[in-house]
Point group: C2
């Protein structure tokens, strides 16, 4: 399955999923899928959160908490899950607040290996 198909598969199978993106830590989007009616600025969100994720990675290593694997951020409007794929890339799933976040995180974890292999 291609990267885009895998992203489409995740977004299509999770209630409330708005977008899925493969990103580099410098904020560049490698590939993305977005449901048509979403109205957020995916690009800004990606760039801002990439910076934050780099900070978390650094902090976790600094406090010897080990290598970052997953980060989940809930605001009063959205839920976003990040899954590390390799040294350079991570997958992001953006969901509506009332979406099925558990399933979203599960699918992201399940597909991370496939995505990492496709991207190697």
């Amino acid at each position: 399955m291609s990267i885009r198909d895998t992203l489409r598969d995740i977004v299509g199978n999770v209630e409330g999923a708005l977008a899925a993106v493969i990103m580099a830590y410098d904020g560049i989007s490698i590939d993305e899928i977005m449901v048509p009616q979403s109205e957020f600025d995916l690009q800004s969100l990606a760039v801002e959160y990439a910076t934050v994720l780099k900070e978390i990675k650094r902090a976790a290593e600094l406090v010897k908490a080990g290598a970052m694997e997953e980060v989940a951020i809930t605001t009063n409007q959205t839920r976003v899950a990040f899954r590390v794929l390799n040294e350079d890339l991570f997958a992001v799933l953006i969901m509506a607040k009332d979406g099925n976040f558990g399933k979203g995180r599960y699918l992201l974890r399940l597909k991370a290996y496939d995505l990492a292999r496709e991207l190697a």
Copy 2:
């Protein structure tokens, strides 16, 4: 119930919980409970993650994702859940990787209102 009792209650009722802390965004710990056999440096962890949390808060507001409510960070050794209490403070629950993270996040959310009220 006092703040410390609430923290003790959370740590005591979640399998794999190592510590619970009430923190300010400047990295100062207001109160904390730690299980005796834990070996991590709670202070460094708190300070580093407080900085990160401030970044996430800023990023979420910048991309109009709304106000930050909860952040969860999983590394290959630990799971850490952060719950915003008010403008200045947040609660942190640090767990072993194989702990009951769902229950931990649930209790943290459930007790957030009590904690915020105690701290007001």
